[in-house]
């Protein structure tokens, strides 16, 4: 059974290593500061005992006030999981750091989020529309997109 590490438990240790990186926690997830996402993710990937080597899924949700990007991390070795969340308050030009350098599996998913949600991932090697064509107006996964 994959053990879901509790957010509070993990956040206590992380806060000592990278101060100011955690904004909030919940039972299964930790909410991470935008600026320290990269260093925190690298820490989660390499730290012995954690070793989240498998990025299972990335998704983004539009809450009108802010966008939330959700990373589902799993460790194939220890068989445990954690959910990382990042928020982005700028609606006009949202951007967060890309995790392609750590997990190649993020490549297509980040591109898809850019296409459908309009969040730019800084540092992504090929940030362009993936499923829709160039010249399509708007980003359909946003809540204020009208399809007809």
């Amino acid at each position: 059974m994959t053990r879901a590490i509790s957010g509070e438990e993990l956040a206590a240790g992380l806060e000592q290593r990278i101060p100011g990186s955690i904004i909030g926690t919940s039972k299964e997830s930790i909410l991470v500061n935008n600026q320290s996402l990269l260093s925190l993710a690298a820490h989660l990937k390499t730290e012995p005992g954690l070793e989240f080597d498998f990025l299972s899924s990335i998704t983004a949700v539009d809450y009108y006030d802010y966008f939330e990007v959700i990373y589902q991390l799993t460790s194939l070795e220890h068989n445990h999981s954690i959910v990382l969340k990042v928020r982005c308050h700028d609606r006009e030009n949202p951007a967060i750091p890309s995790l392609v350098g750590l997990w190649r599996g993020a490549e297509l998913q980040e591109q898809e989020i850019f296409d459908l949600m309009g969040i730019r991932f800084e540092g992504h090697p090929n940030m362009k529309r993936i499923v829709l064509w160039e010249g399509f107006q708007g980003h359909p996964q946003r809540r204020d997109f009208l399809s007809w």
């Binding site: 829709l132 064509w133 160039e134 010249g135 997109f145 399809s147 007809w148």
Partner: protein
């Protein structure tokens, strides 16, 4: 001996993507109305032709209707019902059409198995344009008729008739192989009524 690529391309990837987008938008603007079905002539009273021409008509129509070769145009789910139809259980070769051509120039029937999106629409139109006359289209499945369950989506073409003229519509989501075979029989009937020589 090493092989070294010497120069980059005339068009960059970004240019190609840009061009593709322009083509799609242009086609989308052009095809807001469905193409009317091309079968008014079925109900028209055919002009009397001579014995000779009628016999030639019959022979040509017989030949056309019994060797329909279909082209590969299988975007989505209905493709699997088409594969089932083509496989040994339902055996489409009873109708002289077991050959599925990858090249549109060797085919004369397009079975549009699946949802059509605006991004795919220029390619389908190009396949249709490349087919040799006489050519026929069977719109298979609810998506092919009207967009079906995906009609309200932002990327889906509401029916193949926006892009290509359709001869026979086969309803179902997806249609059973029997339904597809019935549709093919209907198309054969339709072809056998055609007048090759007209005044």
């Amino acid at each position: 001996m090493d092989l070294v690529p010497t120069r980059r391309f005339v068009y960059s990837d970004a240019d190609l993507d840009q061009h593709e987008g322009e083509v799609i938008e242009a086609l989308k603007a052009r095809s807001q109305q469905p193409i009317p079905d091309q079968d008014q002539w079925l109900s028209e009273k055919a002009p009397e032709a001579g014995i000779l021409l009628t016999s030639v008509d019959k022979v040509i129509d017989w030949a056309r209707s019994n060797a329909l070769w279909s082209v590969v145009c299988f975007p989505a789910c209905c493709a699997f019902e088409f594969i089932s139809t083509a496989a040994s259980r339902f055996d489409i070769s009873r109708f002289g059409m077991e050959i599925i051509r990858a090249s549109p120039r060797q085919a004369d029937l397009m079975i549009t198995a699946g949802t059509l999106t605006w991004k795919m629409a220029p390619n389908v139109r190009r396949i249709y344009d490349q087919m040799a006359e006489p050519k026929y289209v069977i719109a298979m499945g609810a998506c092919g008729i009207s967009g079906g369950i995906f009609q309200s989506s932002y990327g889906v073409v509401p029916g193949y008739s926006r892009i290509v003229p359709v001869d026979v519509y086969v309803p179902g989501c997806p249609p059973r192989p029997e339904a597809l075979l019935y549709g093919i029989r209907m198309l054969q009937d339709k072809i056998s009524k055609a007048k090759v020589f007209r005044k």
